[in-house]
Symmetry: C2
């Protein structure tokens, strides 16, 4: 018997009712992008807005996935329904293989039963624009179908990951002795987005040095931290995810940060920031497509050829293209 | 006596005549961006196109700056006039301090004499868009005033750096035993852009393992390498930059790659790709400004507010904004 293709609203209602497979299919469509993803976004938008969105980042090898799997099982034990989105902006050549091992975390869930946790990996087929749209939409979908918290875990620590994690309600930065030290984290822009620091593998030599370096950098930089203007200082939690030490303290710090956001009204501000960022990313994607079309059209190819032969400057080729792309009133933005 | 402010064309002619200070001033304007940078681009464009553009990247600590300073002094000895652009897309909080030590490389040049080498650091004030415009323009300027080769050295290994280095004529990826191994390089997309691999600190344990891993990954992936369709396989050079071992071989491999590009006609293709990428970046920047203006205008603020209150979906807010931004014919790109 051929399996019926269910329309998106039906899949969405099934996912809301707890059907794991329906949610999986929707997430695949979200990852793919395009019209179906937009339709899912429109369905989920009114139902979303309740979940605590937690971003977790840190250098590869910092033990993030171990920490996340421990947190997930503690949250389930505590009666929560956590979802995890593991984001890997690596190249299409390797994405699949590297992500393969992450499925193990929620293998405890039976495909048929109402899931108490859900983990999903998301690669981005090599272009960061896809990630900028797919991640907020996947988070919205998890939120809308009843998962809380929604944890976004990034594999790397590039600018894309910093942006993703910085857009969460609570951004957790995981560090370890010896690698991914405080100076590197600072360079990557992580100190500016962190709401909670975790020093993982805290039983290893050098863990207290990492803590001291972080403390010093927090002391020196009053600009650090998204909530610094409300007097919030990101706590530093010592943990050893592998043997479970400190995992309770990590989540307690995350919860305390959420309470702080609610008290100061910052949670609403972060939500507004996320919507704005998403609309911005959507605009950029549509405008980038229009730009590509204009560059590939006969006129565009002519101007590019002239620039390549140094007959006109790249700035002039750009002006010609803007003239055919933008509304006249928008053409020379101040 | 007040120092006269020299107009850009005068600075440009002075830089072409070998005046170090004039070139420094132009590079500062390039870094700042805007109209003056555009003017410099237009002046330099017809004079550029001769230099061999070499990108060098690798994880922090791989010994890139040591390697580059050795290469520069060998090139000068060999009668060349190399320029180095050290690109650091780190946050404005730390950029200056981290780049401070890089000036030492060319301290041998007297400010008054015609320079045989020139090194310049470029931070990006936290936004990658600035880098996408400033780097090609700085390279063009070095090229136009007579430097050859122009070496672009990146501090990190994120997507921005991969793009910068991948746009060079020859992309060199530096690895070391123990850190920044082949799997990490693969994840970062470095294997796909590399034309020459250097295993630095080759006297350390594990160097042969790095070489073997790289060889294996090159064997497995026939898609790897920008020149793979011309039968080119990126060589792996073992080096120890600190004591000078292998530095000659590194440059020999870089030269051999350039010869390959010239033989196959790929050099012209890379130049076209660079021009196209630059125009694309300029379009994106202008369109992003127009998008910001539209979002901040009264209508835009209304639509964003409606999306934040879940009265309309982010997709609908985006459609409204595109309608005021793009020419009607461009509004629904295929």
């Amino acid at each position: 018997m051929a399996r019926a293709i269910r329309p998106i609203p039906e899949l969405y209602e099934a996912a809301r009712a707890g059907e794991r497979r329906a949610l999986g299919r929707l997430l695949t469509k979200v990852e793919r992008g395009g019209d179906e993803a937009d339709r899912i976004s429109e369905l989920a938008h009114p139902d979303a807005g309740r979940a605590h969105i937690v971003g977790i980042t840190g250098a590869p090898g910092a033990g993030k996935s171990t920490l996340v799997s421990r947190l997930v099982s503690d949250l389930v034990t505590g009666g929560k329904r956590p979802a995890v989105l593991a984001v890997d902006p690596s190249s299409p050549l390797t994405g699949g293989a590297i992500l393969g091992d992450r499925i193990r975390i929620d293998e405890g869930n039976d495909p048929g039963e109402a899931p108490s946790s859900f983990i999903r990996s998301m690669a981005t087929r090599g272009h960061s624009g896809g990630l900028a749209l797919a991640v907020p939409l996947a988070v919205r979908l998890f939120d809308a179908v009843g998962y809380d918290p929604v944890i976004i875990e990034t594999v790397g620590v590039g600018q894309v990951e910093v942006d993703v994690v910085g857009a969460a309600d609570t951004a957790v930065v995981v560090m370890t002795p010896g690698m991914g030290d405080a100076v590197q984290a600072n360079k990557a822009g992580l100190l500016e987005v962190a709401d909670v620091f975790v020093v993982n593998k805290a039983d290893r030599p050098g863990a207290l040095d990492v803590r001291r370096d972080l403390d010093l950098m927090l002391d020196l930089s009053h600009m650090t931290g998204q909530e610094s203007d409300t007097g919030y200082r990101p706590p530093i939690v010592m943990a050893s995810a592998l043997n479970g030490d400190g995992n309770d303290e990590v989540w307690a710090a995350v919860d305390a940060h959420l309470a702080h956001l609610d008290e100061t009204g910052s949670r609403q501000a972060r939500r507004q920031h996320r919507i704005r960022t998403e609309v911005r990313a959507r605009l950029e994607q549509a405008m980038a497509r229009a730009a590509d079309d204009a560059m590939n059209a006969p006129d565009g190819a002519t101007w590019l050829g002239q620039a390549e032969r140094a007959e006109i400057a790249p700035t002039q080729a750009t002006q010609h293209l803007l003239h055919v792309l933008l509304q006249p009133t928008k053409e020379v933005p101040s």
